[in-house]
Symmetry: C2
């Protein structure tokens, strides 16, 4: 309970309506339902909606009815569809749920924010990106606990773009961060540009390199595929992702991805030159790569606190506590973005 | 028991002497010991040798004594050291164990075979490459069961290079394949050239891309490392390998690796061009990568036989049964190499 605003911070202040019940949307529906929070959803595929209904979830294959209900209940809408379906859904929200706050869980953020601004919907929008997933997709791949210990990015560009931020927007922002907390994720604030630059490096480039490695191995024929072992299996795992989803995220973040890809190409061309020599030497690549991996492990490595008897596993991300709407919170959000810090809202 | 040669095929016909007790050599020592087969070893690091001795293994830090014992007992010697240490050990074997058969478990095979031929030792050499490992190294990383269901490559170049192959060489070849079978691996025959071309594609290129991805992410700073999730963790796992080992394998197979890297660069340059456009489109990459990953899964996927009540897990690799030394066995080995088939020796 906050002494100032009298709101219990673990609460999401309104029902949640999820549009799209694939891996991410479906897993979110399961987690919110398990936590006892009112949640309902829509799925375009009737078979997916039927499967979810059969498991006892409050799910409909009718978009308009679902949006009208969201409007009536003042639900927070979550767009859990690929980038390619976002604009169409934004138009539907504008028409059938014209006052609802909403977020999205698309893996690119600039493209979504641009579409939101084109429609003048930014006063009720906060972007999300839960950094969790598997190579599987669809309702059948959804699972309880998918977001446990993952990062849940929450955007805050509107704070800087708007002349004046409304209390209603701050309330939506708080609810979105509470969703992340409720499903066990660490909430990391980032604006859409820094998010997309980071996602290009650690997610979209990962996909491009995995696809490339899978293809080069395949070109080697039967013996090559027979010899592939654990390192290859892990490195190409995400090449098993539905190609349409890979395209949606990479093409939707093309500009940042080209930047990351150019850095990769520069390193690979250097490495090629160092290998194609009478005295092959890749010391620089091997040493730098090793140190970079160690830095990543130090940042993401999950460890039990040694000072505590608590069984809670915490990450090594720094933590900033902030209270939405206070004079200092914009600066705190930018600080957290710079540090890659998680936030705790009070 | 074979009706022709009266040898029980699961037997290795002589003691095994392992030089180098790191991840691979140490794990092999553990498995052979657990199977009750006579095995002893040498480790250059006294602390590693002490640790192994303390666990009850027959291990020495003295190379010369170990090799003299191998000669006395007609042991099969296994070189389980990085490429950089191979030549020195070959010279020592020539001096102190001049009649012993030997194999190696180095991840590059042409360079080892060249060093063997330079010393005229090919009549007692058969190359191995167990396709197993972790990002860890050293005796402390060794474990029982590391090779279970892995591929164990066995070379057979000498069959084609020699004017006449001796019964002794065939016996060494059989013993090396039996080691692979005894530790639960699937034995796949390949000559050093095809092996190295395959290893460049599925192992050495995997390392180069993992190091590159780790570096590009690291350049993104704190936010980027904070957002990295499961796909990045898996794709960069092998960047955590000791850089000296990465250099030894990549530099030792530089020529084949340049070929694989050129294929990767061609795909990546194409992808860059398709991304850096008003209408970004990576359909070709996403579709080809997905299909390639499926083909790999179909090949390596381990499944329980549906027709059998046996709990044994078998791979999808085809199997060829052959009897060493019969008129047809050279052709059978080449067929197996072409198919990436595992062999069963009878």
């Amino acid at each position: 309970m906050c002494n100032t605003c009298q709101v219990t911070t673990k609460d999401i202040s309104r029902p949640v309506c999820i549009l799209g019940l694939g891996l991410i949307g479906g897993s979110l529906l399961r987690d919110l339902h398990a936590a006892g929070h009112p949640v309902f959803g829509y799925n375009r595929s009737r078979s997916g909606a039927r499967s979810a209904s059969a498991e006892g979830f409050d799910v409909s294959p009718d978009l308009i009815t679902t949006l009208e209900r969201a409007e009536t209940e003042d639900a927070l809408i979550v767009l859990a569809v690929p980038m390619t379906a976002v604009k169409e859904l934004l138009d539907a929200i504008n028409e059938y749920a014209p006052t609802c706050g909403f977020t999205d869980v698309v893996s690119v953020k600039t493209a979504v924010y641009d579409a939101v601004r084109e429609r003048g919907m930014q006063e009720r929008y906060v972007g999300s990106h839960p950094m969790a997933g598997t190579a599987e997709s669809g309702w059948k791949a959804s699972q309880t606990g998918l977001f446990q210990n993952a990062v849940w990015v929450v955007t805050f560009d509107h704070l800087f773009d708007a002349e004046k931020v409304t209390a209603r927007w701050i309330g939506i922002w708080k609810d979105v961060t509470q969703i992340g907390s409720l499903v066990g994720a660490e909430v990391v604030p980032a604006r859409v540009g820094p998010h997309d630059a980071a996602a290009a490096r650690i997610s979209h480039l990962t996909h491009v390199l995995a696809e490339t490695l899978a293809i080069v191995a395949d070109h080697g024929g039967a013996l090559t595929l027979s010899l592939a072992a654990g390192s290859f299996r892990d490195a190409t795992r995400v090449a098993g992702t539905d190609p349409a989803l890979v395209r949606a995220m990479c093409e939707g973040n093309a500009s940042a991805l080209v930047g990351a890809l150019d850095e990769a190409l520069s390193i690979l061309n250097d490495t090629r030159a160092h290998l194609d020599s009478p005295d092959p030497n890749i010391e620089q690549l091997a040493d730098n790569g090793y140190r970079s991996r160690l830095r990543y492990e130090a940042r993401s490595g999950q460890r039990r606190s040694k000072e505590s008897v608590s069984p809670t596993i915490t990450s090594s991300r720094p933590v900033l506590r902030l209270h939405p709407g206070t004079p200092n919170w914009e600066k705190q959000l930018v600080d957290a973005e710079t540090l890659g810090a998680r936030i705790e809202v009070f």
